[in-house]
């Protein structure tokens, strides 16, 4: 792979869930002369992304934006409905078909309690992968796992313990060790620090940065916590209801956000302040993914919305800051302050 090939690319990636009406509902509807509708959820809607080798890309969004679904598709544990993904230039079908290649993409999960098998000892949790796939021999397992545990800040005494005997932060370290044990090149962190205490978050965030510095692996860091994203990521992607609304370098995103949603997010983000803050009474609930607003999904909550925003489907376009956003009125609203009223 040469310097130019990104380690990961996605083109027009889409994932739809269809909730078919159950047998009785369909029968009842037929009796009344109607057809019961299937509900279609476009959890991920035509997303295109690029991740360069060694880069850390942050994905930010609130509930219903599809970031978890996207994470699982990239990790190869969920199928895409349409679109394609490439890992190091190779199509995902080929990558996932070859176990050795597929192992290079690993994922860290949000809930440290349920992401570890409560019946397995730490030795097995971390060591099963490398041994089963032939990376190491069974006789080397103990030594190998101890080595990995040391890099995440745990010790040999932890090998024979069960997950319930550890704290949240330690469990997350075990999850990280499990991913590292199979020598990944792309690490997807799905809200990996969200469930942890503040002081533990700092420890785990540091651990990620240390690992990145030592191995040069590429990371996809998904979070709703903007302050952590700002600290760790090189580039940020903002998602809303299945679509990418903005892409920019971290510095640019925080200093000059383009999309009205990004601006609202940054405005609403809790910041340390010495006194009470005057909040903006921003209206509107996040719409349900089952029934997203037409046109630009954000228009019901956007102070800049016009009729055009309801009629046209926005497209992601590069902008003058060096990033991209999909606001239909970007050129008109850039520089306009957010309302207080």
């Amino acid at each position: 792979m040469n310097q130019e090939t990104p380690i990961f690319e996605a083109h027009d990636l889409t994932k739809t869930f269809v909730v078919k009406p159950d047998f009785l509902a369909a029968a009842a509807a037929k009796l009344m002369g109607k057809t019961a509708a299937s509900q279609v959820v476009r959890a991920v809607d035509n997303i295109s992304l690029t991740l360069k080798d060694g880069e850390t890309l942050g994905i930010v969004g609130e509930s219903g934006c599809g970031k978890s679904t996207l994470a699982r598709m990239i990790a190869g544990i969920s199928d895409a409905t349409s679109g394609d993904m490439k890992f190091k230039g190779k199509n995902y079908e080929n990558v996932l078909g070859n176990t050795a290649e597929a192992l290079k993409i690993q994922m860290i999960f949000q809930d440290p309690m349920s992401s570890l098998n409560p019946r397995h000892k730490v030795l097995d949790i971390v060591g099963e992968g490398p041994v089963t796939h032939g990376i190491i021999k069974r006789s080397e397992m103990r030594e190998y796992v101890t080595g990995i545990l040391k890099t995440v800040g745990l010790g040999e005494e932890h090998l024979s313990r069960f997950p319930h005997q550890f704290s949240g932060g330690q469990r997350q370290r075990i999850g990280i060790a499990r991913a590292l044990a199979v020598k990944p090149e792309l690490l997807i962190c799905d809200e990996a620090v969200a469930a942890l205490d503040v002081s533990v978050q700092a420890q785990i965030a540091n651990l990620f940065m240390d690992i990145r510095a030592a191995t040069g692996l590429s990371m996809l860091f998904i979070s709703h916590d903007l302050s952590v994203i700002r600290h760790i990521c090189d580039k940020v992607v903002v998602m809303y209801l299945g679509r990418v609304v903005e892409v920019a370098d971290t510095k640019t995103l925080f200093e000059a956000p383009a999309h009205p949603y990004t601006r609202m997010l940054l405005e609403g983000m809790p910041k340390i302040s010495l006194e009470r803050r005057q909040f903006l009474p921003i209206q509107g609930e996040i719409p349900s993914p089952l029934d997203p607003p037409a046109g630009c999904h954000f228009h019901p909550r956007c102070q800049f919305a016009t009729d055009r925003c309801q009629a046209e489907t926005p497209q992601l376009k590069t902008d003058d800051r060096g990033g991209a956003n999909n606001c239909l009125r970007y050129s008109e609203i850039v520089g306009v302050e957010l309302d207080d009223a």
Binding site: A75, I77, T99, A102, L103, M107, S114, L116, N117, Q165
Partner: protein, 394 residues
């Protein structure tokens, strides 16, 4: 059970005294079952040993050796006659005593036949038609042959004696049943059959049911529907009915009974496993396992199955008790096992007719043993279920 190390688990289990007692009882029964030939005083299956004279002996009675019959031809010549071990002794003019040389021999009854006319036996009962005289339990084993007229100097007669049985050293600690079997031995062997059927049947049902439940959970869709509708179908029938039908079709025998129990019980495991597996499959550690690119088989058996085990083990314990109960019911109804190899159920059935004629021990003791066995296993299963319930733990 899922959040404890084996040590923690045992410690918590031991906090409830009743559970420990039940565990001890169950283990005791299992040892009984394994070492039955060594523990039981006699082998109840050995038909040679059975004697009808031993039947329906009460608790604690000793076994009596079978009585022996001797047929003797006695010739009295010139007032003196003898035969094997027996001798005549004159006792007066018209009287001749006939008895064993060894006075200690216990004669149960003596029958004298073919006496000359006019000659009778003192204190004997005469056969209604023939000239046969019987004395029961003659004193000192000696009967007196008497006549109004002086006895002939020489005559011959036949003597049939029966010695009463002597007590052997063998005691029927719990009495004997209608066939002369020692109840204690029969019960011990009956325990063996019950435990064997219980564990083998419930265990096999668990393996089959669990596998089917896992398959239903993993594949979903049509496979799931087929398996689960079969489960619903099986659970719709009362288990005794299914057992009877299976045995009627397949015939009798211990392996057929095991098969009948499996046919009833697999459905419980399948249903439980499927629901637990469905919940587990949604957990993140399964996603993590898929991320580690393990095969479906490995994930189901090594990752999901261990987390399904706690409720399954509770179910197993309760089902062993239920299997034993089912087998006892089927045996009680006369299906399944041959008469010569009784299980507890059959023993109860055999003794049923004697309950009201004060020979209670034939049904009572097998019944009590069955009761204790089932209660112990049920309480054990209850304890395991309580331990498994997160809300009851601090």
């Amino acid at each position: 059970m899922s959040n404890r190390t084996p040590k923690e688990f045992l410690k918590q289990f031991g906090e409830n005294r009743i559970a420990i007692v039940c565990l001890a009882i169950t283990v005791g029964f299992i040892i009984c079952a394994i070492f039955a030939p060594l523990i039981a005083p006699s082998n109840p299956y050995d038909l040679e040993r059975l004697q009808l004279t031993d039947s329906l002996l009460p608790v604690g009675s000793k076994q009596i050796a079978p009585s022996q019959e001797l047929r003797l031809d006695v010739n009295v010549i010139e007032g003196v006659g003898d035969a094997d071990g027996f001798v005549t002794t004159p006792c007066g003019d018209g009287c001749l005593e006939f008895g064993p040389t060894d006075v200690n021999v216990d004669i149960g009854s003596m029958e004298i036949r073919d006496l000359p006319d006019g000659v009778t036996v003192d204190g004997a009962k005469k056969h209604p038609i023939r000239n046969w005289w019987t004395v029961i339990a003659p004193e000192n084993g000696t009967v007196s042959i008497v006549s109004d007229t002086p006895l002939p100097r020489s005559f011959a007669f036949k003597a049939i004696t029966e010695t009463t049985g002597l007590e052997t050293g063998f005691t029927f600690y719990l009495g004997s049943d209608g066939f002369g079997r020692d109840m204690l031995s029969a019960i011990i062997y009956g325990i063996r059959i019950s435990i064997l059927v219980g564990i083998a049947a419930a265990g096999t049902a668990m393996v089959i049911g669990t596998l089917l439940g896992l398959i239903a959970a993993w594949f979903g869709g049509a496979v799931d529907s087929i398996i689960m509708r079969s489960v619903d179908f099986m659970l719709g029938f009362p288990s005794l009915l299914v057992g009877l039908v299976v045995l009627a079709v397949l015939g009798s025998g211990i392996d057929k009974i095991i098969f009948a129990v499996i046919a009833v019980q697999w459905a419980y495991y399948a249903r439980t496993t499927r629901s637990v597996a469905l919940v587990e499959l949604n957990k993140e550690y399964v996603e993590a396992a898929r991320c580690q690119r393990f095969s479906s088989t490995r994930i189901m058996l090594r990752h999901v199955l261990p987390n399904c085990l706690p409720p399954l083990i509770v179910l197993l314990t309760l089902n062993v008790a239920s299997a034993i109960s089912l087998e006892a019911s089927l045996s009680f109804l006369g299906m399944g096992l041959p008469l010569t190899e009784p299980s507890l159920g059959m023993l109860i059935a055999n003794g049923y007719e004697f309950i009201f004629s004060s020979k209670y021990w034939v049904s009572l003791y097998p019944g009590l043993v069955l009761l204790i066995m089932i209660i112990a296993m049920n309480l054990l299963g209850d304890r395991l279920r309580d331990m498994n319930n997160p809300r009851l733990n601090n």
